[in-house]
């Protein structure tokens, strides 16, 4: 019979029936249901298995603190492990599976662990599985790992999208229960900028679970009216389905809004969830309270729940876990559950109250001064064993047992900045401490104000106090004084569950104490108490109470572990947002990108830039063929390469030269206008940071280039020197990297090609525009451009720059005009080959550990002036005899391979770290020399040219004989660049 445990009333839409399946069986539910409420309505109590002993489990709670009823929700690539059935909104076609059981939930082979529980006590694994040594990885651990874990991932990419956003407000209210709603009303009516966030899909908090009246009408009427008024206010933003996961520094809160989790799939273009970073001036925490359990033997069977949870299921969802219910309580709240159930015609077997002075009821039996000492029922509760005040035993038949041990304020967010809660003796509970996150106030049950009227007024007053306005009037309603007496566990209990998911029992806490793990952190780590997916919300207090008893201290003396974000487990996907796949990082495209794509270029990533790596043409079967061709064509005629990606920094001001003298280790003061110079930058610690060129366009104007990878770092460094070290220098900086499309035109015919483009007014002959010249010119009939005669390839070469929007047109023009010279576009690979052939250092050489001396530029560090890094570069350790020096490397046998990353060893003798002589930084096949070449650093390299050594790369299984040579493989005299 379907929905046999469905009661009357409730906030569900009975006009619509939703079909869903759990472990393959189909059930009915209604809009407004959660998976748990619908299953209970269908008389399903068994929903999961515990972690260690695989004990049968049903829901303990009706909220996000649920430790037991966790399932695999949805299927395929949307499978969602460890999902709390108590918060999963029901939708038509919902599919859920129980987890951590085999072969079935009702019969779980691993439940055998429960039989051996005596051997599997806290920390048993630290004491065994050690012999023989090899067996841990091979035998024991695989078994443990297989058994471990709860739900499983689909192993497929998450198909849903996640967004991240930013919201700002004056007051963030966390929790839309009585306190939160009144606070929002107070602030909203005053026109203040408010965000009200609640993790539930229905606002109202505990009001949704109660039957008493507000202003003599059902609580739901007041909640509905209040929410309606709030949503009509433009200055109030209501955020249901939004969990505030963390309180971070200076009023920044993380909040996750579930946009589509209540649907089968997210609508087109919409995310599954959004991570909001909420920036608020003030925060009011109205997170309510969580009922706590009592530890007694076998208190973990399906059907044994928190009393308030049973009340919530009955009142909000019109569902009961069973038709015959017993309540076990140490306070008045348990009686409220009994009364509500009775009103809904659920049979109350008994209310077992630990207090001799418990209140009387005419509707059902109240057994005073009694305790539940044990329970029965394999897959669900069948009997509760009582110990009566007079010591006699009694058995009560029931399908559900509601346990009420009092309430704990939800102080979690108050602790996210390491604040500690304080102990309130009257409530026998921890309440928010003094050291709250700055800007945070707490109201309602979260602050220990448990009566409904108390919560309503405390919310209104708190908002009024924070914003210095007048509180709104709270509706009239129950205002019962709360009597909460400490009663944590039943005398003599042993297998009494504290952490139901991790199977931590009173016995484990006792063993932990016995073995000296007595600090709360040791207790937690040794027993795993509170480390389950409920983050200890339902388990910590019981454990603390028992440890306190054992060490003979009070609970506050024992202390608490720290509550850390997130408040509830949070999908990793939403924390990643849109930054995944190809959108992980933005791309930077050069002005010739679209043209290069047409040409079929292969692109490579450099500092977010996509650069053409080589340009394959028809008939080329491998990349080497393309690269060799590009190099030869450039060296023999002319090639063009997009070098826009090099950082460009505009340096202006009357002190510009003085400034460059400070940041470059070599001198720039005397550089003539119209000239360019190579510059080497050191870090203050004397290590090379970056290199590039600076062209002087005017007395007070330089254009500095940096390497592609270091552009940002160098700019930051230059701003530091400018603002912090030379505050009075007249120098202004701005990056112009992307403003100019810049092309290297290299090769013997480069001048001829450019002369066809550069306007005749400008003489770029060798005399008119010699090596290292630079200047402003115009091209193609008047377009402003810049020309630099610099060369990375070692050929006669220029770099020409035009405004980026014309870069596409210019490259096409260069190709067209260059046809007569077979102009060839070349990519970063050919560029790399040519610079290695010339022995120019690049990223692999400027690796953050090399000095000017290592790079063979020791003499560049000017002693005539002070520059960043010059002083510390003089330290002995950086100037020892035999220091690493850059050298060239070529194979003795021309056919042999050279690999970057290989180490250099003497030609004979042992091969080990002690005999390491240096390493290879860059390697390439040189089409010009027709064999591989490399650059590297070798101890005392300068004086070892001609020496034969071994290049060893054990990790790539390579050993070759190499000769140490000059790093300048091609045109060592540098005649070509001056041609």
């Amino acid at each position: 019979m379907t929905q046999s445990n469905r009661l009357s009333g409730g906030q569900i839409d009975r006009n619509t029936t939703l079909k869903f399946t759990f472990d393959g069986k189909t059930y009915d539910g209604h809009p407004g249901d959660t998976l748990a409420s619908a299953l209970l309505a269908n008389n399903v109590r068994l929903m999961g298995r515990s972690f260690k002993y695989h004990r049968p489990r049903g829901p303990l709670t009706a909220g996000s603190e649920e430790p037991n009823a966790i399932v695999e929700l949805r299927s395929g690539d949307r499978q969602e492990p460890n999902t709390r059935a108590t918060t999963a909104e029901l939708y038509d076609g919902l599919v859920a599976k129980s987890q951590n059981r085999w072969p079935s939930l009702a019969f779980d082979a691993m439940a055998i662990n429960d039989r051996f529980s005596n051997f599997l006590t806290a920390g048993f694994y630290y004491k065994t599985f050690m012999w023989p040594a090899a067996f841990w990885e091979k035998v024991y651990e695989p078994i443990i790992r297989k058994a471990a874990g709860l739900g499983s991932l689909s192993m497929q990419a998450d198909p849903d999208a996640y967004d991240k956003g930013f919201r700002h407000c004056e007051l963030l209210i966390v929790g839309a229960g009585p306190a939160g709603l009144m606070a929002a009303l107070t602030a909203g009516r005053a026109g203040r900028d408010v965000i009200l966030a609640d993790e539930d899909f229905a606002m109202g908090g505990q009001l949704n679970s109660e039957t008493f009246a507000l202003n003599d009408a059902p609580a739901l009427d007041w909640t509905t009216a209040t929410v309606a008024e709030l949503s009509s206010l433009p200055n109030v933003r209501l955020m249901p389905r939004t969990t505030v996961i963390g309180a971070f520094d200076h009023g920044i809160y993380g909040a996750v809004e579930r946009i589509s989790d209540h649907l089968e799939t997210p609508p087109e273009g919409k995310p599954r969830q959004i991570l909001w970073r909420i920036y608020t001036q003030k925060t009011l925490l109205c997170a309510g309270a969580t009922e706590r359990s009592i530890a007694f033997e076998n208190n973990d069977r399906p059907g044994i729940m928190l009393a308030s949870a049973i009340r919530t299921y009955a009142n909000r969802w019109a569902a009961t876990p069973a038709q015959r219910v017993t309540i076990f309580t140490n306070n008045d709240d348990g009686h409220r559950t009994a009364a509500d159930l009775h009103a809904k015609h659920v049979n109350i077997a008994a209310v077992v109250d630990t207090r001799a002075d418990a209140p009387f009821s005419s509707d059902y039996e109240v057994i005073k001064g009694a305790q539940v000492v044990d329970t029965k029922g394999r897959l669900g509760l069948t009997f509760a064993e009582l110990r009566l005040a007079n010591g006699e035993s009694r058995t009560v038949e029931c399908g559900a047992l509601g346990v009420s041990g009092g309430w704990n304020p939800n102080v979690h967010l108050t602790c996210h900045q390491r604040g500690r809660p304080t102990w309130n003796e009257d409530l026998a509970a921890f309440v928010p401490g003094a050291d709250l996150p700055p800007g945070m106030t707490v109201a309602g049950a979260a602050d220990g104000t448990f009566s409904t009227h108390g919560a309503l007024t405390s919310g209104a007053n708190a908002a009024a106090r924070i914003l210095d306005i007048k509180p709104s009037d709270a509706p009239t309603t129950e205002d019962a004084a709360v009597r909460q007496t400490p009663f944590w566990f039943v005398e003599g209990c042993s297998r009494a569950w504290l952490d139901q998911q991790n199977d931590v029992t009173v016995k484990d806490v006792k063993l932990s104490h016995q073995e000296g793990f007595r600090s709360v952190e040791h207790l937690k780590r040794y027993t795993t108490l509170g480390m389950a997916t409920d983050q200890g919300k339902t388990s910590n207090m019981g454990g603390l109470a028992i440890m306190a008893e054992l060490v003979g201290k009070s609970i506050p003396e024992v202390g608490t572990t720290i509550f850390r974000p997130p408040y509830t487990p949070t999908a990793i996907g939403v924390l990643g947002g849109r930054m995944r796949g190809m959108d992980f990082h933005p791309t930077r495209l050069t002005p010739s990108h679209f043209w290069a794509k047409e040409r079929g270029a292969v692109f490579v990533e450099v500092g977010n830039w996509l650069r053409a790596q080589w340009f394959p043409i028809a008939g080329e079967t491998n990349w080497r063929a393309s690269v060799d061709r590009e190099v030869r064509a450039t060296r023999n005629s002319v090639g063009v390469c997009d070098c826009t990606t090099l950082g460009k920094i505009d340096v202006q001001g009357t002190d510009a030269a003085l400034f460059l003298n400070k940041v470059y280790c070599n001198g720039f003061a005397k550089l003539a206008v119209g000239k360019t110079r190579y510059g080497l930058m050191l870090r203050e610690d004397g290590i090379a940071m970056d290199d590039g060129t600076a062209g002087r366009l005017a007395e007070d104007h330089f254009v500095v280039t940096t390497t592609t990878a270091n552009a940002g770092k160098v700019y930051q460094h230059m701003e530091f020197v400018r603002q912090c070290l030379m505050p009075d220098a007249d120098v202004q900086l701005i990056s112009t990297t992307e403003a100019w499309a810049q092309y290297a035109v290299a090769g013997p015919n480069s001048r001829k090609l450019l002369q066809k483009i550069v306007d005749p007014a400008f003489d770029i002959s060798n005399d008119g525009f010699p090596f290292m010249a630079c200047g402003n010119i115009t091209v193609c009939g008047g377009l402003r451009a810049r020309l630099f005669r610099i060369s990375f390839s070692g050929e006669l070469a220029f770099e020409i720059a035009v405004p980026s929007r014309y870069g596409d047109a210019l490259i096409r023009k260069l190709m067209a005009q260059g046809e007569e010279f077979d102009v060839t576009p070349y990519g970063t690979e050919a560029l790399g080959v040519m610079r290695i052939e010339k022995g120019h250092a690049a990223g692999n050489e400027l690796n953050g550990t090399t000095t000017a001396l290592n790079l063979g530029m020791g003499r560049m560090v000017s002693k005539a002036k002070d520059s960043i890094g010059s002083k510390l570069s003089e330290r002995a350790g950086l100037n020892e005899d035999g220091a690493l020096a850059q050298v060239g490397i070529k194979p003795v046998n021309a056919a042999d391979k050279i690999t970057a990353g290989g180490h250099l060893m003497a030609a004979t003798g042992p091969v080990d770290a002690k005999h390491d002589q240096g390493y290879v930084t860059s390697a390439a096949f040189s089409p010009s020399l027709d064999h591989m070449i490399g650059l590297g650093f070798l101890k005392d390299g300068g004086s070892r040219l001609g020496e034969t050594m071994r290049l060893v790369s054990p990790v790539t299984d390579l050993t070759v004989e190499v000769e140490i040579v000059s790093a300048h493989f091609v045109d060592p005299e540098g005649e070509r660049v001056r041609a």
């Binding site: 971070f248 520094d249 200076h250 009023g251 920044i252 920036y279 900045q417 700055p438 002190d655 003085l658 203050e684 610690d685 940002g712 930051q716 701003e719 530091f720 603002q723 912090c724 070290l725 030379m726 505050p727 009075d728 220098a729 002070d866 010059s870 002083k871 510390l872 003089e874 330290r875």
Partner: protein, 94 residues
């Protein structure tokens, strides 16, 4: 964290790049400083558990270097200054 920029008001620290102890402004005098002073400048830190004056660069903002006084235990920020002004006040010029 929120850094209250002297010119722009409260800005998220994610817009900034952190460098470290504001003592880095006090670069030793190249004419007179000893090797020991250079070593101390570049490498030794007070690293206090408490108030710390430190350099942040507003990379995602106005490109100002700021000197932020922040408590390293509570993260509370008690003072924010423009580093250029601090440098001048400490006698740096060109």
């Amino acid at each position: 964290m929120i850094i209250n920029h002297p010119l722009l008001g409260p800005r998220d620290s994610a817009e900034f790049i952190y460098m470290g102890d504001a003592g880095l402004i006090n670069r030793p005098d190249p004419e007179t400083a000893s090797g020991e002073e250079w070593y101390a400048y570049a490498y030794l830190r007070d690293n206090p558990a408490g108030e710390h004056r430190e350099l942040w660069w507003h990379e995602g903002g106005d490109r100002s270097w700021l000197v932020v006084t922040r408590n390293t235990v509570t993260h509370e920020i008690s003072k924010v200054e423009i580093a250029r002004d601090v440098a001048r006040a400490q006698g740096r010029s060109k």
